[in-house]
Amino acid sequence: MEFLHAVPYEQLLIQTINGIVTGMILALVASGLTLIFGIMDVVNFAHGELFMLGAYVGVLILAATGSFWVALVAAMLLIALLGAVLHVTTLRPLLGRDPLTTILATFGISLVLQNYALWQFGPVARKISEPFTGQFTLFYIQYPWYRLLIALLSAGIIAALYLFLKFGTYGIWIRATTQDRVMAQAMGIPVPWVLTAVFAIGSGMAAASGVLFGPLVGVNHAMGLDWVLKAFIVVVVGGMGNLGGSILAAIFISLLEAYAALFVAPSQAVIVSFIVLILTLLFRPTGLFVPTPK
């Protein structure tokens, strides 16, 4: 444990905060993915592209209106609308077929969207400016308030989703559809539209995380790839279709990666999440953060 003493505790604390911040964004991306998977049995390969397009829409609206908050809300709504259109045109015809075909269809969508973004916006990264630039002193570095705000906003959006699913009328429809699609239909719930709405909500959440995350890194056409892969790891580690599990897994993995970045290059820190995945598959293939199935 010699190497642990080499790292000052301030750095550990800074990395803890960093890990939680990225973890919350990852949780927002992953909970959209989990929502779509848990309710619709659709693995959304295009989720990263919706994330990326959300960030681009944010860039455009921010340039047009000058307000970050307008950009955030508008990006959510527009991408949710796009998600609804994508669902109606490509996923609804696949209802009732093998769930594997939805992987193929969403993979096609992701190819189209990613190359569309490259064509439309070019390969140069765009920048979203932070809504406010305040900083506070954390030991010896200046830490931007905005990062903490991201974590809070992400938590807020996830909490809103949870409350909506738990108490809202449409939320109850969604849960009823998850439990028994045929019965829900028989009770008069418009199941195809519920599924469309779920896809739209998931897309909107991806867009929100894209806009929130935009200021930290540049916005470019390939930014979705990294995130969707990480989100997939999170979703498998957290237990597929399990909202709480994916949130915990997102924070857990981000923290581990943040600590690993103290010792190795950040590009190699990714390997930590792969190791977590392998160990999870070995010992708890149903997911780390789900109750043991009886």
Partner: protein
């Protein structure tokens, strides 16, 4: 009846192989290379068909097997003097098989979609390792090496021309096809197909389905590695781009376009896709994936059987 089918089948087979063998003699250089490349990608797609079409599990990790085949061949061709074709092949195959064993052991614990996602993530592990381990793999730039001569030790040794390379690749692909066809018709292949139809029942009947799936993934990875070796020999480089999961995605596209569960369908799919890319990239430059993606989605929705799906029964008899 059975006899007549066999005659028609093998005649068609012979005609197609003969056409492919004659093609490099009449085609210009560019299309000769193109045809060889189609065969290599076709072999990769065909290896994936064992999983998608016959076992009913979709692998999104074939780029790892393909890439490791490439890097394995690269290792043999760079370290061994003089470079030998017959060393590149086993090196690539062993590398691919090792990776396949690793991936198979973990990912077959999961079913359906989970399998697809874990194979994808595993292929990304190898991508990250290859991308960041610059001292050994050359990192982002990859490795370049010279092409080994076409040789049988003690008999003859001539440098590859594009025509002899094509024949060599054609021979490997045809032999692989015959082996894979034999495997899918063997009792082992029948168990795989029954896993596709109903895994729970297959297990209930008494087959250890997990073990069958592990062997299927390894077999598939082995042939994908073979395709990787051929690609390395053709292009004289190994690059991390070929380990990236988009390659796996293209392999799945080849399968769906060509028709899964036919073995030759994926080759047709690869040919169709590469021709489409060649044509469309003249109009759409590097954005050819937009129309390709749209066509792919349309085929998933309206033509799930693929181009050769209508002949599936006939081809598997």
């Amino acid at each position: 009846m059975r006899n007549r089918h066999a005659i028609v089948y093998w005649t068609t087979f012979g005609v197609v192989v003969a056409l492919l063998a004659v093609a490099p003699l009449v085609l210009p250089e560019f299309w000769r290379r193109f045809l060889t490349e189609i065969l290599i990608w076709g072999l990769l797609a065909m290896s994936s068909d064992i999983l998608i079409g016959y076992t009913g599990i979709v692998s999104f990790g074939h780029s790892a097997f393909f890439g490791l085949g490439m890097y394995g061949a690269a290792a043999a061709l760079i370290t061994m003097r003089p470079p030998s074709l017959w060393l590149a092949l086993p090196y690539g195959l062993v590398a691919a098989a090792a990776v396949a064993a690793f991936v198979a052991y973990f990912s077959t614990r999961l079913r359906d979609i989970y399998f697809a996602i874990t194979t994808l993530i595993f292929s990304q592990i190898f991508y990250v390792v290859i991308f960041t381990w610059t001292e050994v793999t050359g990192g982002e730039n990859g490795l370049t090496f010279s092409r080994p001569p076409l040789a049988i030790p003690g008999l003859f040794s001539v440098p590859f021309t594009s025509t002899t390379l094509h024949w060599f690749v054609l021979a490997v692909v045809v032999i692989s096809y015959l082996i894979l066809r034999r495997i899918t018709q063997s009792p082992f292949g029948m168990v795989l197909q029954s896993i596709r139809e109903n895994e729970a029942r297959t297990r209930a009947v008494g087959y250890p389905t997990e073990r069958y799936k592990i062997v299927a993934v390894m077999l598939s990875g082995l042939f994908a590695g073979l395709a990787g070796v051929l690609y390395a020999i053709q292009n004289r480089f190994a690059a991390p781009d070929f380990v990236f999961f988009l390659v796996s995605g293209e392999v799945v596209i080849f399968n769906v376009i060509g028709g899964i569960g036919t073995l030759v369908g994926p080759i047709v799919g690869a040919a169709f896709f590469l021709l489409l890319r060649e044509t469309l990239s003249r109009f759409f430059t590097e954005f050819y994936l937009i129309p390709v993606g749209v066509i792919f989605i349309a085929m998933v929705i309206f033509m799930p059987q693929g181009l050769l799906g209508f002949a599936r029964r006939w081809l598997n008899r």
